[in-house]
Symmetry: C2
Subunit: 658 residues, 2 copies
């Protein structure tokens, strides 16, 4: 035995194409985890769930066949990874259904993220919500303990569940359900506390159902954005997204950004109206998710929510006034569990809402959720995490430390404050090219329709294009000497015509004005100055960043190269940039899938140090220096400077603009 | 120093008139506890509460003066017992305000119980409900954590309170209260779990108030009886009963005993009606308590409830059906905390109801409460605890073990099933004497008014009197040969006229019939057979009982001697009997006063082993044997047998009845 374990074996995992050298006799699931290969293992390796089935394509394992592997599957060399010891060198194939990242990334509109790059790893599939089936011995005169005691005794015996607290509402229906179902019932339990201390985990019995309902085990995850709300219906047996829905936040009609919504709350009944609006939105998404998935509302028993601090407070009906007033204090960072129906959500009575924790008034649960979901807190790699938007949030750090800040970029990224600005839907100009000889544009719209306006990512591309073509200078002003009718004096000053009226859906010329450009420059300057101030605060510079994760719906659609050209993103090697899409929803989903992640959320929020940029003189200096394309300090943008310097007329342009 | 502590000192405590010999240097509070003298010490001896002030009348202590003792008090030789070391022999006077038992027994309608005999001792005055005042530093840009984090940080710093959970409802008002009160607030916290493991105590933040409201710190304790409901408003700063109220249980109109009420619940809407009835009763008592005490409803923040299992389930709105059906299972023994307003109690939104735990369907929270309150679980003394009533409950045991049973005695003790029976109010015949020569009665009524009927305790006295006068035989039948018109044939068989129509309030002869006597014999037989069966089960006999505690409103009014004569109570030395009045309310009150007692309640309930008498053959045998006055086995009642044997005509009477 001693000898056995000392011999080395090579295991090759497909389709990841990853090798690992391990000692003979090692557990195959553990070897996969060590190799960074993700195998679904709902039960955490106890052998009871059967979700970690792998195909032994070559070599030999020692593996007990449990009831989770049929004889036919065993014949085909399928084995439970958690039940297998490595005997010889192996080639192991992980079928799609056993692949964790498939489940997790399912339906994410993001390209080639590799889990090892920007996804939390190493967590077990252990949802905080559990369904536990028990068959209880019926009471007799010799054993006539209370119905609740009988149930808890059964849960303790079968699942070793102790010190469970009980929702009072369970008691009302308990006696009848126990008897009607012949003492065979399914208990729903929820983890109520994070693991601040090893054995302090709290669990609460929240529901009881007749018979075995384990196959109906669902939760909801939501990201409440200022503009859009995205929800997913999650299958907690399979770790999969069952349905997904998206809608505008119904609060938009009361104000476009968080500041105007907070202002609206100061009107009589304002807070109530805003809360009702977001509830209506969420209830609408829930009802679509149910219709699409054919899941019944009573089979959903948990809701996980992330969002920025203001959105979370409005959702919970908490006065947001002091978020806006210095010194910018939120009511709460770690939100207690709250009954979904008490808020007004249209779900079963026993459902609780878990809200991811936030860090500060402008560094919300959405950011914590993204940091957790993307695994920034797990890696040594120095990472910049950005959520670009009206309120841009920035996190810098790694597994040892994290600092965070938010900067008010204004609405330009969302198309706000821009003459023909619009959100990123059909008809929005999202891509732009320009003929450097005659300055004629080439435009692409979302959906390929006639243009209707310009979305935020389009704006970046247009400005980068105009800059590279020298149609505008580095100060964002038009070069009015060019031989083109497209640059002209408009009602708001100089402008460039992107599309003539007949080519549009709106029957008017679609233009980009100097005011629009100025708004975007201010927005990008705020984001960049935020990054710069934060990196300087911790004694590093942007070029030290080993990874930049861009989160958020807006971020997912931007062009890295063009964003660097205008000075929104730092000028570092392009392969360090990763898009993760809606990081907030990713973290909320993982939280619903894993109590490990739930624990990490609380820990990570406490680990993040918030910097208030608004009170820092260096932020203001950095901001002013960034009000230039790409930046007044050309050395910060070496590749852009080089590129612009190559342009024929660069010297005269510089003379014009500085 | 070594020498000092070896010298013995005598401490005399007044007004208890108790001496103890201790070593010099011992702490005075500890000496008092060792002497069985009860001193209020809210803080458990930490020196911070100032409630343990004592007067050193003679001798010398070494005592640091803290801010809790004014200079004037120090001059008058007042000292904090917990801060004092004994130097010389002492005479110590405990002022009324420092006397614990005064607080605890205040307003109890019971005579000379000594705390050491039938009151839980050694507990600290540490209510599960706390009011904690904190002054928080206002937020600044350098310290702009969330409002909740600021509050929790303040509570941790000032009171070392960690791992506190937070009621979601606190959040809504938190921001405004903090700012309106200049960051000086009072937090109300509630202990939410018992101490199953040393450091697992849970605490919940349930309310926040502006400024320092510690002086307004009240709770309510209730005993919900089948017939009567008794409530007390408790001052949690002083450990005193501030007001007391009593009313009939409004459910009486739906049935007199628990069985008929359970039956009523099977009608449509029945459970809801019964719950509403008890809530109306309790709300009425609360409103009287508030009016009497001038306490404001918002200053009450905790409710502790005890009652029999059926009453508790009806109060909580839990279907009681299975309490009545074999195998007699209650829904719950350990009731989770429940919001008072969610039940329908008219108190502040943040108030939780704590229900004492029960043991079984017919051994309820009222009995556990009584056992805890009377300290049976603390003493080595073998004790019988009885609550005599329609459902008689019996506990036998001591600090090592406890067994319990209930026996259905029927309603005779409450005046039910008795021709002129009534509950114990004005006009009820409660005492009875009989002239052995002419068989004329001497009656006393409650309130000294003309008679209206007979209460349960009166019934015992009447039957004992008739037996001793040989007007009835040991089988409960009238001796119809006596020279008196008072014994006559009535509509229900033979009867004895207690009062002629003109002497009564009801204008009719008040009589006791053979049917009435028979009902009482069956009731007392059930109680006695229960005691006998239970004592036999644990291998002892009634004469081994070192103490008999009689609880309950009915029990408090019975005459021990006469109850022994009829065979209700065992024939053991009379000084072993102690009345404690409403033990259920006593335990509920102590639970509200002390988290130590709260812990003990849960522990004691689990420690009690329930016997189902209804399925035991020996119980039936014992019951039949007890259907005699006092008992078919004369040896069980030696003093009564001796007394009856002394009567002139005892032989003929025996001949008549056996």
């Amino acid at each position: 035995m001693e000898d056995l374990t000392k011999e080395k074996r090579r295991v090759h995992f497909e389709p990841d194409n990853v090798d690992i050298i391990v000692e003979q006799g090692q557990n195959l699931l553990e070897a996969a985890i060590a190799a960074g290969v993700h195998i679904n293992a709902s039960c955490g390796g106890a052998g009871v769930c059967g979700t970690c089935k792998v195909l032994i394509k070559k070599g030999e394992v020692e593996s007990t066949r449990t009831e989770k592997i049929s004889e036919e599957e065993y014949e085909q060399s399928l084995r439970q990874a958690c039940q297998s010891r490595i005997i010889t060198d192996l080639v192991v194939d992980i079928p799609v259904e056993s692949r964790l990242e498939t489940a997790v990334l399912d339906r994410e509109r993001v390209g080639g993220i590799q889990p090892s790059q920007a996804l939390a790893t190493g967590w077990r599939f252990t949802p905080p919500l559990s369904k536990l089936y028990v068959e209880l011995p019926p009471p007799t005169l010799k054993d006539n303990i209370s119905d609740l005691s009988r149930l808890l005794r059964g849960l303790k015996k079968r699942y070793n569940l102790r010190n469970i607290s009980v929702d009072f509402n369970v008691l009302g229906k308990l006696p009848q359900i126990l008897r009607d179902s012949d003492w065979k019932v399914t208990a729903t339990t929820l983890v109520t506390t994070t693991k601040t201390k090893p054995d302090k985990r709290g669990t609460r019995l929240i529901n009881i159902e007749p018979g075995d309902t384990r196959s109906k085990h669902y939760s909801l995850a939501f990201d409440i954005g200022t503009t859009g709300v995205r929800g997913q219906l999650l299958d907690l047996n399979r770790g999969k997204v069952r349905a997904e829905g998206l809608d505008y936040n119904g609060q938009i009609r009361y104000g476009e950004d968080v500041i105007s919504r907070i202002a609206y709350c100061q009107k009589p009944g304002g807070l109530k109206k805003l809360q009702q609006a977001i509830l209506t939105t969420i209830n609408g998404i829930i009802s679509k998710l149910l219709a699409e998935s054919k899941v019944k509302v009573e089979d959903i028993a948990h809701i996980v929510v992330a969002g920025n601090t203001t959105m979370v407070q409005l959702f919970l009906g908490l006065e947001p006034k002091y978020i806006r007033l210095a010194p910018y204090t939120p009511t709460v960072n770690t939100v207690p569990l709250v009954k979904a129906t008490s808020l007004g959500l249209e779900v079963a009575e026993h459902v609780y809402v878990y809200t991811l924790p936030s860090v500060a008034s402008y560094v919300g649960a959405d950011i914590v959720s993204g940091i957790v979901g993307s695994g920034v807190y797990q890696r040594k790699k120095l990472t910049l995490y950005m959520d670009i938007g009206t309120n841009g949030e920035i996190v810098i750090g790694n597994s040892d430390w994290m600092v965070t800040a938010s900067c008010s970029a204004g609405p330009a990224f969302e198309g706000g404050g821009v003459k023909h600005g619009m959100i990123a839907t059909n008809g929005a100009i999202e891509d732009f090219g320009i003929n450097p000889s005659n300055f004629e544009p080439v435009i692409n719209t979302i959906g390929g329709t006639k243009p209707k306006g310009i979305c935020g990512s389009g704006l970046i591309n247009i400005i980068a294009g105009l800059l590279e073509a020298e149609a505008i200078g580095q100060n964002g002003k038009f070069n009015t000497n060019l031989p083109t009718k497209r640059i002209r004096q408009g009602s708001d000053g100089y402008e460039y015509v992107l599309a003539w009226a007949p080519e549009t859906q709106i029957g008017k010329d679609i233009v980009i004005t100097e005011v629009d450009i100025d708004n975007l420059i201010r927005a990008k300057a705020a984001m960049y100055a935020g990054c710069q101030t934060l990196t300087n605060s911790v004694g590093i510079s942007c070029s030290d960043l080993e990874q930049v994760i861009i989160a958020g719906a807006f971020g997912s659609n931007i062009d890295i190269e063009k964003s660097i050209i205008i000075g929104l993103l730092p000028d570092i090697p392009r392969d360090r940039f990763i898009f993760i899409g809606n990081g907030s929803l990713l973290g909320a989903r993982l939280t619903s899938f894993s109590t490990d992640i739930l624990d990490e959320g609380e820990r990570v929020a406490k680990m993040m140090t918030n910097f208030e940029l608004s009170v820092r003189v260096d932020f203001m200096n950095n901001y002013v220096a960034a009000l230039f394309l790409p930046h007044t300090n050309a050395d910060d943008f070496p590749s852009v400077s080089k590129r612009l310097a190559k342009l024929p007329d660069s010297k005269s342009r510089r003379g014009l603009t500085v």
